[in-house]
Subunit: 216 residues, 2 copies
DNA sequence: ATTTTATAAAATTTCGAGATTTTGGTATAT
DNA sequence: ATATACCAAAATCTCGAAATTTTATAAAAT
């Protein structure tokens, strides 16, 4: 694998899981030292990440971690509801048994971890594994929609959404609700009810829409 | 303005308006000569364009113009209907008079050009100006939605959509229908009917959904 | 005291060349 | 005839340094 791609993925992870300060400056030269490569290589990766939205680029002023704001989070949530709802509904239509099986499996894993978190003293220690499972569940949910473009787009929105939310949310106060939400989504999907599925996805994410000027 | 940005924009235009062959190889070194700069600068721009989706990047194999396919076009159309519908509906709610005025103006310009095209021997000569007006109309349609993220996302989908369609479509056989479509969308918007607006946007783009396995 | 100007330091952008990998052609073996 | 191994040419990737621009600091002017 090329160095550039390596660095791209590493940085992406750090950005999503808040390995950097909110709005921090990202100096290619410093990161280059850390990664043991040249500044240009880091620069390429940062450029790509800026197009994805995890990094902000300013002409002659370098790169910064995208800032957090309630507005941005609300916008991303709105789009997630839209895309994930669409993806789920299409998957219901096209998915068949194998998709149902995969989704059930993903949900089983996620709910197992979420129940662990609920009864745990230091839930932060489970944050990483939780993130992976939660992502997998939501990805699986739309995985049979038949549109790569939709999934790709959802992936980006999801990444930015997590970036906005991480740390803040890692106290897991919401975990009981969440267990309920995920189960409700699965239930709606399995019953084949498209409108209900959309509604449940909406309910799951609703709490992040505060301060939103967009419609409900 | 930096050279990189210059090149980025130039390449973006060429890619969208099919200044390159379908699937053509994009060699940084050759383009560098043409632009009078170094290969690394072009490389940065190409990397960004690959993240946007106009260019395909392969590890150790360089860059290519994104291939055209009916499937891809259908996927992009599907997303356009979704995002543009949502953006238009939100704009109806938040837009107010000034948005209505801007949309009417954009429509007036577009319909003027489309009528010129209808009665023209060599419609290709008007392709450039048409593209600009059509883009402006659809951008204005969602411009009061209140979500930068949504608009940005729509912009990317729109760019890829155009890339798939250009040349092929520049014979303007559809122009009479199109005049009708655009007027219908404007009418639905002005009546404040949200469902009708979505439906009209869908009808406008429907012909590109052939070969689609996604539901309509 | 505040603003403007000049200068130095730091950061960003661009470059061209060297290192690495792929591609295409030729020879050798099965 | 097909497949494999080898080599040379071409393309890609990485680097470190030079050129440019911004930022910070201090001196001069209002």
């Amino acid at each position: 694998m090329s160095k550039e791609l390596d660095i791209y993925t590493t940085l992406q992870d750090r950005l999503i899981f808040n390995g950097f300060e909110h709005g921090a400056k990202l100096r290619a030269e410093l990161l280059a030292k850390e990664f043991g490569c040249s500044a240009s290589t880091v620069r390429e990766a940062l450029f790509r990440l800026s197009t994805v939205g995890l990094v902000r680029f300013q002409e002659q002023r370098g790169f910064r971690v995208t800032e957090k704001s309630a507005t941005k989070l609300a916008e991303l949530t709105h789009l997630r509801v839209l895309l994930e709802g669409e993806g789920a509904v299409l998957s219901i239509r096209n998915g068949g048994v194998s998709w149902g099986a995969r989704l059930t499996a993903a949900h089983y894993k996620l709910s197992y971890i979420e129940k662990q978190i609920r009864g745990c003293e230091n839930p932060e220690t489970l944050a990483d594994i939780w993130s992976l499972s939660e992502k997998e569940f939501h990805q699986t949910l739309i995985s049979a929609c038949g549109s790569d473009t939709l999934q790709q787009m959802h992936g980006r929105i999801y990444a930015q959404f997590r970036q906005q939310l991480m740390v803040v949310d890692m106290r897991f106060d919401f975990i009981s609700e969440n267990i309920q939400h995920h189960a409700s989504i699965l239930e709606a999907v399995m019953s084949g009810d498209e409108d209900l599925t959309r509604q449940r996805i909406h309910e799951h994410l609703e709490r992040h829409l505060v301060g939103d000027t967009l419609g409900d």
